[in-house]
Each structure stands twice: as structure tokens, then as C-alpha cells.
């Protein structure tokens, strides 16, 4: 590990993980001054009944939540406005986002709408206004960028995603409870784990990687290496599920400390052009394009070995595309995908050529 000449690191998320971590949420939220949260979740999570666990935790403390808001499949300005109105009307003081990336984006967008007090969403990507506190309850299998400084809002008029960055998007707390584990197929588990690997690898080999980012990234890669096998092979392994959820969280934290990378950039392009989920896209890109990625990113050798070991575990899993062609991408679309990736928020330098080569390798 090298020490950079100068670096800055800020990641204020308190992590509460383990058995009955959700029971601890009301007390810990109170320490942040949050007494009446608005719980944001999607329809699927609503059907699981997980919300009752949260409500029980609040009942045990003699408190009540401010209510439940169901976010849509993607965060939009209109949805955020509705949530903000509900938040104000109910006298809430913080958001609890239960679920995956879309829910987290929904909560972040709603927090922005609360701060904007009815004003339009700004065109500036950097959002500096003070926001209500956000608490993340990631549900495995959910992507790890929930704890990042990034929020994705879908612009319905222009039919494209908008990305906002703010230190205030980073949740004050992330709660990982083994009971918040969704049943998932082998392909979904693999995609989830490989996305954490991709983010960890990019964070560890990024130019701006500082020692703290590297520690989180290496921890994420190590956990995936050790627990992906049990998660795939055992019918129910709470330890493995919890480890993968932690890996995803650590990868998200590490990724917050770097400006992006070609895998995340290309995955963003694939999502925007072909609607392939970021996790699945990262999984395909990493599986087929690791050699190129390794050369390009100059990733640490030990981590590359761990990534290769993890990749050998997912080979041949039904439902996991072996290449972009199998995922429904046409060769003619690769250039467009690379262009969109370059225009996205994950590639601060001109890397369109490298993204295109990666896409070709993964085709």
C-alpha cells in the first residue's frame, strides 16, 4: 500500500451489523437527533413484511415511525416531490431507506426535494444544500452504492438518468440485519457479489485511492472471495449472506472515495442503452474483461488473484450471461454504449476508447 502525497477522506456512515441490528435502529437514530423517520421502500419489500420488524423496533422504544412511502422502480422528480410533501406533512425528521438501489435513490431524491422546498431540481451535478439525515437498511441482495455520495434521478422528459453528487447523500447510518436477506437465484447472488468486486477493484486501483479506501476495498474483495462459494452452494447460509451484504457496503464506501472507473462507466452505459441492471452488467464485464481490466487499472496483484478465484466460482451459473451478446447487446451498439459511458458521471477523463475495448472483450 502506498501513501499518497495528499489525500482527503470523508465517510461518516455508522455501520450497525449483526443479529437484531434493526432493533437498534431507533436508539441509534435518536443519537443523530432523528426521532420520527419516514420509511421509504418499494412494493416488493412492502410485500415481504420486513416493515413490521422495523415497526416492532419502534414500538419497543415507545416510538412510532412517521409513515411509509412506497418509491417507484426508479427515482423521479415527481416521486421525490410526493415523498417530500408526505415527509413535511407527517412532521418527519429523517429518511430510512429499506431495500435496493432504487429505494436509496428515491430517499436521496426525496431528501433533495425537502431541502429544495418546492424549487426545481438544479442542473448542477454538485448538490451542496443541507439534507435531512438518511439511514440505509440495505437488503441483500442490493447493490452497495447505497452508501455513496451519488444519487440517480431519472429525467422523465428527456428520458435519461441525471446524477447528483453530495457529501450529504452519504447515509449517517447503515444497518445490516441478517433478517433483511431476500431469497435470490444463484445468478442474482453472483451478479451482486461481482458488482461488489468490480467496485472494490476500481476503488483499490484508482489513482485517488487513499489507504482507507484501499482497506475497505480489500475487505470487500476478501469477503466475496471467502463467502461467495457458501452463498451459492448452501441452501441457507446467513453468515455468507451477511458477509456479502457487508462486502457490498464496504465496496460502496470505498467507491465513494474514488471518482469511478471503466467497469462502472461501461455498466452505466449498458444500463442506459440496453437497460441491463448495473450488477449484471458489472458481472459480465468483469467475467469476460478481467485481463483487460487488470492491464488497464494496474490492480493490486493479491486482489486480482482473489477476484480470479471468485470468478471461477460463478462460471456456468444458469442465468448469468457469459458475454454481452448473450445479454442481448448487439455489436453495433457498443460504440453508442461507450459514448454514453463517457458522458456519464463515472469517467472524469477521456476513457471512451478503453471502455469500447472492454465492451468488445466482454462481447
Amino acid at each position: 500500500m502506498q501513501l499518497p502525497d495528499s489525500y482527503e477522506h470523508h465517510h461518516p456512515t455508522k455501520i450497525i451489523a449483526g443479529q437484531r441490528a434493526v432493533s437498534n435502529l431507533p436508539f441509534e437514530a435518536g443519537r443523530f437527533g432523528a426521532k420520527k423517520p419516514l420509511i421509504v421502500l418499494d412494493e416488493e419489500m412492502g410485500r415481504t413484511g420486513f416493515i413490521h420488524l422495523l415497526e416492532q423496533a419502534f414500538a419497543d422504544c415507545g416510538q412510532k415511525s412517521g409513515g411509509v412511502f412506497f418509491s417507484g422502480e426508479r427515482a423521479t422528480a415527481a416521486g421525490a416531490g410526493e415523498a417530500a410533501e408526505f415527509f413535511r406533512r407527517s412532521g418527519c425528521d429523517c429518511f430510512i431507506a429499506v431495500g435496493g438501489g432504487a429505494v436509496m435513490d428515491g430517499a436521496k431524491a426525496a431528501a433533495m426535494a425537502v431541502a429544495l422546498e418546492g424549487a426545481e431540481f438544479p442542473s448542477d451535478r454538485r448538490f451542496s444544500m443541507k439534507l435531512p439525515k438518511i439511514i440505509a437498511v440495505p437488503v441483500t441482495y442490493a447493490p452497495g452504492y447505497q452508501v455513496t455520495n451519488l444519487a440517480e434521478l431519472f429525467d422523465e422528459e428527456k428520458n435519461r438518468p441525471l446524477h447528483y453528487f453530495s457529501e450529504n447523500f452519504i447515509p449517517c447510518m447503515a444497518v445490516l440485519d441478517p433478517k433483511a436477506t431476500l431469497k435470490a437465484s444463484g445468478a442474482a447472488k453472483a451478479a451482486f457479489a461481482l458488482e461488489a468486486l468490480a467496485r472494490g477493484l476500481e476503488a483499490a486501483s484508482g489513482r485517488e485511492a487513499n489507504p482507507i479506501v484501499v482497506i475497505y476495498a480489500k475487505a470487500a474483495i476478501g469477503l466475496v472471495k471467502n463467502f461467495l462459494g457458501p452463498a451459492l452452494n448452501e441452501k441457507r447460509s446467513r453468515e455468507a449472506d451477511q458477509a456479502l451484504a457487508s462486502a457490498s457496503l464496504y465496496a460502496g464506501i470505498a467507491f465513494s472515495g474514488c471518482s469511478g472507473g471503466i467497469i462502472t462507466g461501461a455498466a452505466h452505459g449498458l444500463k442506459a442503452v440496453r437497460g441491463i441492471e448495473a450488477g449484471m452488467a458489472a458481472a459480465v464485464l468483469l467475467t469476460r474483461g478481467l485481463d483487460f481490466v487488470a492491464r488497464e487499472m494496474r490492480a493490486p496483484a493479491a486482489e486480482l488473484v482473489a477476484v480470479r478465484e471468485s470468478l471461477s466460482l460463478v462460471r456456468g451459473i444458469p442465468g448469468l450471461p457469459r458475454g454481452l451478446r448473450e445479454a442481448g447487446v448487439a455489436r453495433e451498439q457498443l460504440e453508442k454504449i461507450a459514448e454514453v459511458a463517457q458522458a456519464g458521471p463515472f469517467l472524469p477523463e477521456d476513457r471512451a476508447r478503453e471502455v469500447f475495448t472492454l465492451l468488445e472483450e466482454a462481447f
Binding site: H52, Q56, D60, A180, T181
Partner: protein, 190 residues
């Protein structure tokens, strides 16, 4: 769908009803109120008999008070060092020098149903310590001694990394503690 066992699924279903949530909270509070009183009595019984406890208490000043309970506004007891023993002086916080309060009912119930050791709960940050940390560790060590004398071996094996082997004289101490616990319980509850 969540990956839950059948029991967990049933509990989750029941918690969907507001009345159930209220009953469950009340049941946990009641259980903790009783468990804390039992432990209050156990402090009395063990501190008066166990040599390990006596050694731990040797440096304690007379009248040192500490509280054990659950945050927020949960059941709580206050204990005090009186002579060579620790006596429960009542429920609630009564000007303790130190308080060890579990952050939620679930964590407290896990410890007081012996699902988790008190040391494990402390290292997992499940309890909030208000006061001197060194003194808190002394109380936790005494709680540990109480658990060792009161709980059966198979639970100790689950909760303690190394289960202490008992000598014949320690088994006699254990019997004396059980005998002393009965009047202590009577004093605590009536």
C-alpha cells in the same frame, strides 16, 4: 421473499398487527423487569458468598451505586455496595455513579435469556455505559461471575469462550449461592 425460518415468518406475520406489537413490547418489558429483579437478588447472593466476587469488590468504596437497565425508559434497577455485598436498593435510576443500559429490549432479552453472554453483548456495543468505563468493566466481570455460578454448563459452553472448570469447593459455593438466592429473591420481590 425474505430468507426466514418458519418461526421468523410467523413472528413477522404476527407483528403485522398493531395489537400484537404492543403485546410483544409489554411482554418483553415485563420479562426484563422480572429478570433484572432476579439478577438484583443474584448480586446479593453471589457477592455475599463467592470468593471471586469478594476479590472484585475489595477495591470498591462503600456506597458505590450502579444501575442496570434498558434504554429508553425501559425497566431498570439500582444496586449499591453495602458492607461486603451488593444490595438492590430499588427499581429505576437512583443517583447511580454508573449505569449500564441496553440500547434496546431485544439486546437485553438476548442477554437475560442467556442467548448471549454479557461480555459478548458489551463488546458488540449493545449496551450504553454512562460513567467510568473501568468501573463498568468491574460490574461486567461480577455479572460474569454470577452467570457462571447460576447457569448450567451447556449454556455456559455456548456463551463463554472458555468454560471454567469447577472445583469441589466451588460446587459447594454454588449450592450455598442457590440457598442464599431464595431469601434474596423474597427480599427483592416482596
Amino acid at each position: 421473499m425474505l430468507e426466514l425460518t418458519l418461526v421468523e415468518k410467523s413472528m413477522l406475520f404476527a407483528r403485522g398487527f398493531k395489537a400484537w406489537r404492543r403485546i410483544e413490547s409489554m411482554a418483553k418489558r415485563l420479562y426484563m423487569a422480572i429478570a433484572l429483579r432476579v439478577f438484583g437478588a443474584a448480586f446479593d447472593a453471589v457477592s455475599s458468598i463467592s470468593a471471586e466476587c469478594e476479590r472484585e469488590l475489595a477495591d470498591w468504596e462503600e456506597g458505590r451505586r450502579f444501575a442496570l437497565g434498558v434504554e429508553p425508559k425501559g425497566p431498570c434497577i439500582t444496586l449499591e455496595k453495602k458492607g461486603r455485598r451488593i444490595r438492590m436498593i430499588g427499581t429505576g435510576l437512583k443517583d447511580p455513579h454508573l449505569s449500564i443500559l441496553f440500547k434496546n429490549l431485544d439486546s437485553a432479552v438476548m442477554v437475560f435469556t442467556t442467548y448471549m453472554g454479557v461480555v459478548q453483548a458489551t463488546v458488540e456495543n449493545r449496551a450504553l455505559i454512562k460513567g467510568d468505563n473501568g468501573r463498568a468493566m468491574e460490574v461486567i466481570r461480577i455479572l460474569d461471575i454470577i452467570m457462571i455460578y447460576l447457569l448450567p454448563g451447556f449454556i455456559l459452553k455456548k456463551n463463554f469462550r472458555t468454560v471454567p472448570g469447577f472445583t469441589r469447593s466451588q460446587y459447594l459455593v454454588m449450592l450455598r449461592i442457590y440457598a442464599a438466592l431464595i431469601p434474596a429473591l423474597v427480599r427483592t420481590f416482596f
